[in-house]
Amino acid sequence: MYLNPKIEQRVVQAILWVFTLATVFILFFIIFYILHKGLPVLSYNFLTTNPLDMGKSGGIYSTIIGTIALTIMSLLIATPLGVGTAIYLTEYTRESRITRVIRFGSECLSGIPSIIFGLFGFILFVTKLKMGWSILSGGLTLAFMLLPTIIRTSEEAIKSVPYNLHEVSYSLGSTQWQTVTKVVLPSALPGILTGVILSVGRSVGETAAVIFTAGSALRMPTSLFSSSRTMAVHFFILAREGISMPNAYGTAAVLIITILIINIIAYRLMHKFIKKYS
């Protein structure tokens, strides 16, 4: 059957329009639904009191602290490793079999589902190394998960620093390490930060890897060896077990707002960075 191309174009355009509208609607709906149900629950008290009675009442203070502790822990491990790897790949070596292996390894690592990290972290850190369910175990596991993201974004950021800046730095008598730390890294910082901030977002939202390694104790963590429940895990437990729907919605709203803010900051930074070097 021959269809007039002009009519075909109209039809297709209409279909695409409907699909796009539906997609955007669904995605927005999720956010607005959670905020609509959750915002009324939010209050200063909700954020600053500890959960009581399994989370049936009280707020989410200890889970906020738990989330922050776990995130900081994982970044303290993943950032030096990730940025170091990126520096090695971009500054200290040329493309070779070794760099290909490192890149492939990091790519594979990024494809591993979080539950596998959870399984691994649970058996290795929690049971075999006797760290127990703790911020340390959870932080290590999360760090492994975040590493590929940080490597990739840092590598891109470092690569985008103009090469002639290197030459200038060398010609002024600096060593390679001085060039990297005094010239390259400061210029690449916004790009690297973008990756780190995106990782913060991921660690805040992660459940599968965290619940089996950091545990789900509701108490305020007191040390690296105390177990801690993150906001995402708290939400998961509240919602699934029907402990308290209002509190679940409240927690979800806090989660979503946090993630949105984190992503907006990352997006802004990235934009600035791109502008600077294009």
Binding site: P5, E8, Q9, L16, W17, F19, T20, T23, V24, L27, I30, I31, Y33, I34, G84, T85, I87, Y88, Y92, I102, F104, G105, S106, E107, L109, G111, I112, P113, S114, I115, I116, F117, G118, L119, F120, F122, L147, P148, I151, T175, Q176, W177, L198, G201, V204, G205, T207, A208, F212, A232, F235, F236, A239, R240, A252, L255, I256, I259, N263, Y267
Partner: protein, 287 residues
């Protein structure tokens, strides 16, 4: 040589050690999962693991076939939902909408990739599952529910990478085709889509990886029955949810069997990764 220059060698060695971290972590995880998971597979026979229908770990019966099929069904289901919507959205935003709309919508859609998966799962539980139960029957916790929610979850991935690869098609292709009198849609269909093919395929494979690896959202909405589903309204258990559901409780051979589940999941993911890697390398080479 100055002191700083002598230090350079140490720095280089230190950085090399750091650079090996990702590979070593991958190696440790791989060795760990395989060494914990494979002995039991060989003890009871690969066949009984891959093709066994019964998962009753307390009775030494470790058939993973229902979970393998479950993972495959849910993943393809999610692609059936996510790919048409995602591609339509990407095509519309690159080819048929104004620059401004694209500049507003693309970052917003990318933001949505950051929403925790448990939130998607929760939406599934409170809205989608009751809806399916009341309109289509069955328990609601089903292949269908899981496919739809996972399909939505992979939308941002598919859309954002597809947009990037569509935009990477040189302007001259578009202009050439339009100059020959083709309509926008004909141009898209005949010129742009084939040119952006490898990027779009990579986006789909990445989405697939996310769907197959997703755990918590699936546990919440798939029902987790160990049966091979007969219809899309039946509950289903995936490889990931099998691990997460029982990991806390498992000991002895049961735990090893969960590692075996991990091994199978791991292999599937690695195959996907390699394919994705190969297509993206091929795509780069073509450009």
């Amino acid at each position: 040589m100055t002191r700083l220059e002598r230090n350079e060698r140490l720095i280089k060695i230190a950085l090399f050690v750091i650079a090996c971290s990702a590979v070593s972590i991958l190696a440790v995880i791989t060795i760990f999962i395989f060494s914990e998971g494979t002995p039991i597979m060989f003890k009871y026979g690969l066949r009984s693991f891959l093709l066994g229908l019964d998962w009753y770990p307390s009775e030494q019966s470790f058939g993973l076939l229902p979970m393998i099929i479950g993972s495959v069904m849910v993943t393809f289901g999610s692609l059936l939902v996510g790919v048409p919507f995602g591609l339509a959205c990407a095509i519309f935003l690159t080819e048929f909408s104004s620059r401004r709309l694209r500049h507003i919508l693309k970052p917003i859609i990318e933001l949505l990739a950051g929403i925790p998966s448990v939130v998607y799962g929760f939406i599934g539980v409170v809205i989608l599952v009751p809806f399916i139960r009341e309109t289509l029957g069955g328990p609601g916790l089903s292949v269908l529910a899981a496919s739809i929610i996972l399909g939505i979850m992979i939308l941002p991935t598919i859309i954002s990478i597809s947009i990037d690869s569509l935009q990477a098609v040189p302007r001259s292709y578009r202009e050439g085709s339009i100059a020959l009198g083709a309509t926008k849609w004909q141009t898209t269909k005949m010129v742009i889509l084939p040119a952006a093919k490898s990027g779009i395929i990579a986006s789909i494979i990445l989405g697939m990886g996310r769907a197959i690896g997703e755990t918590m959202a699936v546990i919440m909405i798939a029902g987790n029955a160990i049966n091979i589903p007969r219809s899309v309204l039946d509950p289903v258990r995936t490889l990931t949810s099998n691990i997460a559901l029982e990991m806390g409780y498992a000991s002895g051979e049961h735990r090893q069997a969960l590692f075996a589940t991990g091994v199978i999941l791991f292999i599937i993911i690695m195959i996907l990764n390699t394919i994705a890697n190969a297509t993206s390398v091929k795509g780069k080479a073509a450009k």
